[in-house]
């Protein structure tokens, strides 16, 4: 019977092969050789989040090349392997398993989206494998604490909520606030944290409107906001949503002050919304200065980036390149502190002694451009960055709001 002869032959081959299998012995700390350390990077190179991944990879590679150009760490050269997770859950898990089991990297430097990062955390905790997440702001990354998981540039939802509440209360001096957020997970998780913080300041939430990410028509939500007429609005969604939302709100004649989530802190919003974005506030966590600025460290960084990548991938450098660059230095600092023959535990201990640290301002990585916000890790608290920067759109792009009491 043709069908079964096909499978019988496979079964036979399998039985013979299984007798010859000898598991390979892992030699010394995985991923460490005499002259090099292999670091794995999980990143979303394909799928809807490809811009995030491409930008992050460029920034990370820039930092790696700079470190290797200056003699690497503790005499070892840094090798990097990138595994694409396509921005999905199963993609993330496959990428992480490939890094751990096949590429046999020393540790993982994570640049996936919220979806692909949150889904690998249970696997990381089970495998007790060092995972330094730079971008994903999902609460479940650090929810049940594990010594193996660190969170770099990104500010967790609770801190974003606290920060936003402070801006709404003290800067905008609003008494009534409205929410307009998409169905994305990172939006639905920030509101529950923010409402108590607003209540502490005696601010009433008068409106909670929702929309589906990718919607094109907000006339309904705009009219609801107009009738509720809150003093200020907190907006959350993907950058593209922001670009579509702002013109329609402006057209509906909404006068309340608008504050956007950290994800809205992206050049796409002013570019897409055009003049309607003027006066729109958002939170920025990627670096001291906003990307748009030409002077200071940001200016140097951009020229270096241009030199390093004559023809960069489309839409880069972007905010995710900054994150990749700054956080890889923090990761490298952890590696350096792990000493001449590094193990994951030594690196964890090293990272947990990093206090208020920014590459370029420290003693060792003097050549780095100090663009990142300072990172601090402690045993039991692996949230590297709590600070946000308030930015506002002035004639076409964001810029930092200077005199703002943190």
């Amino acid at each position: 019977m043709r069908g079964y002869r096909f499978f019988a032959s496979i079964a036979l081959a399998a039985l013979i092969a299984s007798l010859t299998y000898v598991p390979a012995r892992a030699a010394g700390a995985q991923g460490v050789s005499a002259k090099a350390i292999l670091v794995g990077v999980q990143v979303s190179l394909t799928g809807p989040a490809s811009t995030v991944g491409q930008g992050f990879k460029a920034g990370t590679q820039m930092a790696v090349d700079e470190i290797n150009a200056h003699g690497g760490i503790n005499g070892r050269h840094i090798d990097v392997v990138y595994e694409d997770d396509a921005g999905t859950a199963e993609g993330g898990i496959s990428a992480v398993r490939r890094l751990m089991d096949q590429d046999k990297v020393f540790a993982i430097f994570g640049g996936g989206t919220s979806t692909s990062t949150a889904s690998v955390i249970p696997l990381i905790q089970q495998s007790k494998f060092l995972y330094y997440d730079s971008l994903a702001s999902d609460p479940r990354v650090l929810q049940n604490y594990s010594p193996y998981v660190f969170s770099g540039m990104t500010v967790v939802r609770a801190d974003v909520a606290a920060y936003a509440a402070k801006v709404l209360g003290q800067t905008f001096k609003a008494h009534t606030v409205g929410f307009l957020s998409s169905d994305e997970a990172f939006c639905t998780t920030v509101l529950p944290f923010m409402i108590p913080r607003l209540a502490d300041q005696g601010i009433r939430v008068v409106l909670q409107e929702k929309f589906k990410s990718g919607d094109t028509d907000f006339t309904a939500q705009a009219s609801a906001i107009k009738s509720a007429n809150p003093d200020a609005m907190y907006l959350c969604g993907l950058p593209a949503d922001g670009g579509r939302l702002l013109p329609q709100l402006k057209r509906a004649g909404i006068t309340s002050k608008l504050l956007g989530d950290t994800v809205f802190g992206d050049t796409v919003v002013p570019k897409l919304a055009g003049s309607a974005a003027d006066g729109f506030y958002a939170l920025w966590i990627n670096s001291e200065q906003f990307m748009g600025e030409k002077t200071g460290p940001m200016g140097d960084w951009k020229t270096r980036f241009a030199k390093a990548f004559p023809n960069p991938p489309p839409n880069t450098p972007n905010s995710f390149s900054l994150a990749g660059y700054a956080d890889f230095y923090v990761f490298a600092e952890g590696l350096r502190r792990a000493g001449p023959d590094p193990t994951q535990d030594k690196m964890i201990d090293g990272l947990e002694h990093v206090r208020n640290w920014t590459a370029g301002k420290d003693a060792y990585f003097t050549w780095a451009v100090p663009v990142g916000l300072p990172r601090t890790f402690r045993n039991g608290d692996h949230k590297g960055n709590r600070e946000c920067v308030l930015i506002v759109v002035r004639n076409g792009d964001y810029s930092r709001v200077e005199n703002f009491g943190t």
Partner: protein, 288 residues
């Protein structure tokens, strides 16, 4: 008030895509799952032309020409290459092309939406009295959709080519016996569908921005609008699109933004089960 206009505007875009679907289905019997990607191609052509500073006429005619060419490519694939394949394989063929087009666009332009300036009039708004303003683009969308519908209605009623296409749609064998070159008519139907899709792309671009998955989002509501016309009547597709746009907008107010898809699906099942041959079409459903 502007709720209604907003609803009509987005409904008009659904209608345009639905008209494209109907044009192609009734002549060729193929449901084009890649109609959204045709729309996306038209939108990208429009944005690139506006950015490259081409004259206003080229900005409009360029995407339309591209739409016509893409329509012919689809005709070539489904009619010549997939000649022997059963109907299901042709439907899956259009799905395959839609993946290819989306993936290619993502590689070239990534997913960051590009900004598109509305036709000719730029970003100005129009006040409708009582203080509410709507974007000039919404007006253009509705006006252009009406013009397209009028033009199609006139061609199919008056011109010989229009009548010939209707004859092929009714029965390719009878049309052939009458002396009508069937393949040329099918190619014309496909490229006309491409043109309408490109037009819809140009009109949707300023509303949503231009990104690879922009077409897919509009495809499902357009299916429903076309189903209301039984995939036979262009008028049914137009009217179906407008109704859907308005109902969705008010549903969002009533029930909340996210229920939009649930409602759209409920409408689809209602239409298909209750009147498979569509509410407006007089002809019984072409048996598959």
């Amino acid at each position: 008030m502007n709720l209604l206009v907003g609803g009509i505007a987005i409904g008009a875009v659904y209608a345009l895509v639905a008209i494209g679907l109907t044009l192609i289905f009734r002549a060729t019997g193929v449901v084009n799952f890649a109609q959204g990607e045709m729309l996306m191609a038209g939108a990208y052509a429009y944005v690139l032309l506006t950015q490259s500073g081409a004259g206003p006429l080229v900005q409009i005619l360029g995407p339309i020409a591209l739409g016509a060419v893409i329509g012919l490519v689809f005709f070539f694939v489904t009619r010549i290459l997939l000649r022997r394949a059963p109907e299901i394989s042709i439907v899956i063929g259009t799905l395959a092309i839609s993946i290819l087009m989306q993936a290619a666009a993502r590689l070239k332009f990534t997913d960051n939406p590009m900004r598109a300036v509305p036709w000719l009039f730029g970003d100005r708004d129009v006040s409708l009295g009582s203080g509410t303003t709507i974007s000039i683009n919404s007006v253009t969308v509705v006006v252009v959709t009406m013009i397209v519908f009028g033009a199609l209605y006139w061609t199919f009623r008056r011109t010989t080519y229009g009548k010939a296409m209707r004859a092929v749609a009714e029965d390719p064998v009878r049309a052939a016996i009458t002396g009508i070159p069937v393949n040329r008519m099918l190619a014309l139907s496909w490229s006309l569908g491409g043109v309408v899709a490109a037009l819809a792309g140009m009109l949707l671009a300023p509303i949503t921005g231009v990104y690879p998955a922009m077409g897919a989002g509009v495809l499902f509501p357009a299916f429903i609008a076309a189903a209301m016309g039984g995939f036979e009547s262009v008028f049914g597709a137009l009217f179906g699109g407008i109704i859907l746009g308005v109902v969705q907008t008010y549903a969002v107010v009533g029930v909340g933004g996210v229920a939009r898809d649930g409602i759209t699906f409920a409408l689809l099942v209602a239409v298909l089960i209750w009147r498979p041959q569509g509410i407006f079409s007089t002809v019984t459903l072409r048996t598959h």
